[in-house]
Symmetry: C2
C-alpha cells in the first residue's frame, strides 16, 4: 500500500557525468595554446572532475594541457594530483615543472602527500619531499616508515586531543584559542596522561552541552581505536560496519598517533571494490588509461592460467575420441554441460567470495552454506536436465542421449555448487585472496567434470 | 628507496570477525533458554555485529533467540533491526512481540525507520507506523511519498539551518540554546529567506572563528545540494567524488527539505557494489541466508539465458559434424578457442562495466578504449596462437591443425576485445544495466565466433 503512492515517480538520474562539449572546448583551447580559454573551461570544475577529465583525454593532449597550465599560470592545483588515477600520477608529475610541483604539494594535507608519493618513482619522490616545509616533510617521512596499506599510511597527524578530566567549557575555550585547527575534524579526543585515547565527544554535543559538564559524561558509544599497523582493508571494514566518522589511531602502547577520517576510509572501500571486481573478472591491476602493451602484460598471466585449464579439459576430451568419432552429436552437446556447470559454479563462487569479503561466511555457517549450494546445484541440475534431455531427444532423436546429457547436467551442477563454495573457502584458509584465483579453479573443475561425466556416461551407454 | 624501509613489516589483519566460541555460547544459551547467559554473550557486541551473528545462525536458533530476548527482557534493540540484512528483516519482525517491536522502532532515527519499513509486508508496515509517535509517523509517511531509491528516502529531516546573514556569535548562541540537536550533524546550513540553502559552515570552523565574523565568509567550497528526486546511486557517487560529509537536500523549488549524511551514502555505496558483483556473477539478488528454493528461483533465469547461449553455440558446432567426424582432434581442441575467447571477453567487459559505473568511460574516450581493447585482443591472440599452435603440432603432429587453432585464437580474442567493450556500452545506451546482461551476450559471441572460426577454417584447410 505504502509503495503504491510513489509508484508512478522514478528517481532522477543525476548529471555528474562530464559534458561532451567540455571536452571539445578543452581540446580546442589546448590545441590553440589558449591559457585563458582553458582556465575558463576548467575554473568551474571540482579538482576531482578535472582529474577525471585528464584521465579521459588522449595522452598527448593531457601532457600539453598540464604543461600549458603549469607553465603559463605557473601553478597547478595539488588537489588534482591527489584525485588523479594512480597510474597517471607519474606521467603528470613528469610533465610538471619543478616549481609548479613544489607549489602543488605544499597545498596538500600530509596524508594526501603520502598517498601521492607512494606511486612516484624515486627521483620524483625526492623532488616532492624537498618541496615540503620541514615539519610536513618529517610527518610524511614518518608515515612512510609504516608498512604500505596500513592504518599508519592513511592517518593524518592533525588532530584535536584534550585531557579526559576537562569539562565542556575548558574544551571550547581551548578550541577557540587554537591558531589553526585541522581542516577536517569531527570529534575532540579525550586522552589520559599517557596520551592514550579513552573516548571522544562530537562537536555537536560539545556545542549543545553546558560549560560545566565533564567531557567524560558526553562521550560517544561509537568510540573505538585503530591499531597503527592494521591493514587498510580492515580499517575500511570497521568504518563501514560501525558507522564511524573518524577514529583515533594508536601505536602498540595504545598512545594516540593520528586520526583516520571517513573520507580516507571511503577511498579505501572504493579501492577494495575495484580490486574485488577486477580480480573476479580476471583483470588484476590496471586502469582505463593504461597503454596497450601495459594492458597486454597485465592480462597475459590470467589468460595463461586459463590456457592450462582449457588444455586439461581438452586432455579429458581426448580420452573419449573413439566414442566422439562414432557419435558426433556428443561433440555438439558436450560444451553445453561444461558451460552450464561453469555458469552455476561462477554463481556459487560469486556469493562465496563476496560473503568472505564482508565476513558473512564464517565457520559458524560454512556447512549450512555448502549444503545449500550443493542442494541448489542438484535442483537446478534436475530442472535443466529435463530441458536439455528433451532438447537432446528432439534434436538427435536418441532417448539415451537425452538421458546422458540430463544425468551429466545434474552431476556437474551439483559439483559446481560444492566447488563454488569449497574452493574460495580453501583459498582463504591458505592465505590466497579468493577473488584472485577461485574463478580459474572452479571452471577447471566444472569443465573437467562436465566433459568427463557426459562423455564417460555416453561411452558406457552408447558403446 | 622509501619503500625499502618498511618492506619487512606487513600490516596486521584485524580481528573484526566474530569469534567461534561466541557462536557456541549463544547457541548453548538459546538451547537452554538462559536469558542471562544470552545477555552476557551479546552485551559487549555492537548492534551491527549482533545482526551479523543473527544472519549466521540457523533459522530455528535465530527465531528462538529473538523470541527469547524480546520475550523475557521485553525489549529488542532497534539498531539490530536497522543493521539486519534486508532478506531477514521480515522474519525477525515476525518473531517479535508487538510491544517489543514498537519499543524497538521508537528508538530509531526516522531515516532508519524508512529504510526498515520498505522491506516489510503491509501488516508489519502498519504495525511499525502505529508504534511511532505522531511527528515521527508523519515524517516517515512523508519520506515514503518519495520514490524508492531516491534521495528523499535517504535523507533525515533533523537538521540545523540558520539565516545566511548571521555571524558566528549568533550561530553559536542559537546552537547552545537548542533543546535537542540532531544525533548526527557536521555543518550549519545557511539559508536565504525562501529557505533555499546557500552554503554551509563546518562546526570546527565555527568553533575557531571570532564571534563577529559573518557566516558567509567562512563557508566551505565543498557545498553542493542534492535534488530530492535524485537516484540514490547518483547521491552515493556525489559523496564519493566530492568527498562530502553531509549535503542538504532540496525540493524542485530549491527549498531545504532534509540532509543526507555520509553514513547513509556509504550504505548505498556498499549496496551498489554488492549489486554490481552479484550481477556480474550472474546471481542477481539474494543473500547468504536465503533458503534453497528461494535461491533456486533467483538463479534459474540466469542459467536459462546461458542455456540458450550454449545451444546457439552447439548449433554452430552441428554445422561442422562431418569434418569433426573425420578429424576428432577438432572436437578436442575447439573448447580451448572458445574458452580463451570467453576469458578475454570477460576481462574487457569487467573493465568496461566498472568504468561505466565510475563514469570513467564516456564518449570522450570510448573509441580510444575500444581500439585499445581490440589491439590488446590481437596481441594476446597472437601470443596464445603461437603457444597453442605449437601444442597443436606437438600433440597431434599436424602443422595445419596448429595453424588453424592459432588463426582462430587471434580472430576470437580480437572479437572478444571488441564485444567486451561494445556490448556493455550498447546496453548502457539502451538503458539496461550493463552489469546485468553483458556477460551472457559476450560469452555467446565468443563461443559462436570461437567455434565458427576454428571449425570453419579447419573445414577449408583440412577437407
Amino acid at each position: 500500500m505504502l509503495d503504491e503512492r510513489a509508484q508512478d515517480e522514478r528517481p532522477e538520474e543525476g548529471d555528474y557525468e562530464l559534458r561532451e562539449d567540455l571536452f571539445d572546448r578543452v581540446e580546442d583551447a589546448v590545441a590553440r595554446g589558449d591559457v585563458v580559454a582553458l582556465e575558463r573551461a576548467l575554473e568551474p570544475l571540482h579538482p576531482a572532475d578535472i582529474a577525471d577529465l585528464l584521465e579521459q583525454l588522449d595522452p598527448e593532449t593531457r601532457q600539453r594541457l598540464v604543461a600549458l597550465q603549469a607553465g603559463e599560470a605557473g601553478e597547478f592545483d595539488g588537489e588534482i594530483l591527489a584525485e588523479l588515477d594512480e597510474g597517471l600520477r607519474e606521467e603528470v608529475v613528469e610533465a610538471l615543472p619543478r616549481a609548479a610541483l613544489a607549489e602543488a604539494v605544499r597545498e596538500l594535507e600530509t596524508d594526501d602527500v603520502v598517498d601521492l608519493i607512494e606511486d612516484l618513482d624515486e627521483d620524483q619522490q625526492e623532488a616532492v619531499l624537498e618541496a615540503l616545509d620541514a615539519p610536513d616533510r618529517v610527518a610524511v617521512e614518518q608515515s612512510l616508515t609504516y608498512p604500505e596499506e596500513s592504518a599508519g599510511r592513511l592517518m593524518q597527524r592533525e588532530l584535536v586531543a584534550v585531557p579526559e578530566h576537562w569539562n565542556v567549557g575548558q574544551a571550547i575555550d581551548h578550541l577557540r584559542a587554537q591558531e589553526d585547527l585541522p581542516e577536517q575534524f569531527y570529534h575532540v579526543i579525550l586522552v589520559d596522561p599517557a596520551m592514550r585515547p579513552t573516548g571522544y565527544v562530537t562537536l555537536g554535543r560539545l556545542m549543545s552541552s553546558a560549560r560545566d559538564v565533564p567531557l567524560k559524561e558526553i562521550t560517544e558509544d561509537s568510540f573505538r581505536t585503530i591499531p597503527v599497523l592494521q591493514d587498510e582493508a580492515e580499517v575500511a571494514y570497521a568504518f563501514n560496519q560501525y558507522h564511524l566518522i573518524s577514529a583515533p589511531v594508536v601505536d602498540e602502547a595504545g598512545r594516540l598517533v593520528g586520526v583516520i577520517t571517513i573520507d580516507d576510509a571511503v577511498d579505501i572501500m572504493e579501492e577494495e571494490h575495484e580490486e574485488d571486481i577486477m580480480r573476479l573478472g580476471g583483470v588484476g591491476e590496471g586502469s582505463l588509461s593504461d597503454r596497450v602493451l601495459a594492458t597486454v602484460r597485465q592480462r597475459i598471466p590470467w589468460l595463461a592460467v586459463n590456457l592450462v585449464a582449457a588444455n586439461i579439459a581438452a586432455f579429458v576430451i581426448a580420452q573419449f575420441d573413439e566414442v566422439i568419432a562414432r557419435f558426433v552429436a556428443l561433440a555438439v552437446l558436450m560444451p553445453i554441460v561444461a558451460s552450464m556447470g561453469g555458469n552455476a559454479g561462477t554463481q556459487s563462487l560469486t556469493v562465496a567470495v563476496r560473503s568472505i569479503a564482508t565476513k558473512d561466511l564464517t565457520s559458524a555457517n560454512l556447512w549450512r552454506v555448502i549444503r545449500r549450494e550443493a542442494l541448489v546445484g542438484l535442483v537446478n541440475g534436475a530442472v535443466f536436465a529435463l530441458v536439455m534431455g528433451a532438447i537432446g531427444v528432439l534434436w538427435f532423436g536418441t532417448p539415451m542421449l537425452g538421458a546422458v546429457i540430463g544425468a551429466a547436467m545434474v552431476i556437474n551442477l551439483f559439483v559446481a555448487g560444492l566447488a563454488g563454495v569449497g574452493i574460495p573457502v580453501l583459498l582463504e584458509k591458505l592465505g590466497v585472496d579468493p577473488a584472485l584465483a577461485s574463478g580459474a579453479f572452479v571452471t577447471t573443475v566444472t569443465d573437467v567434470v562436465g566433459f568427463f561425466s557426459f562423455l564417460g556416461l555416453a561411452s558406457l551407454v552408447l558403446l
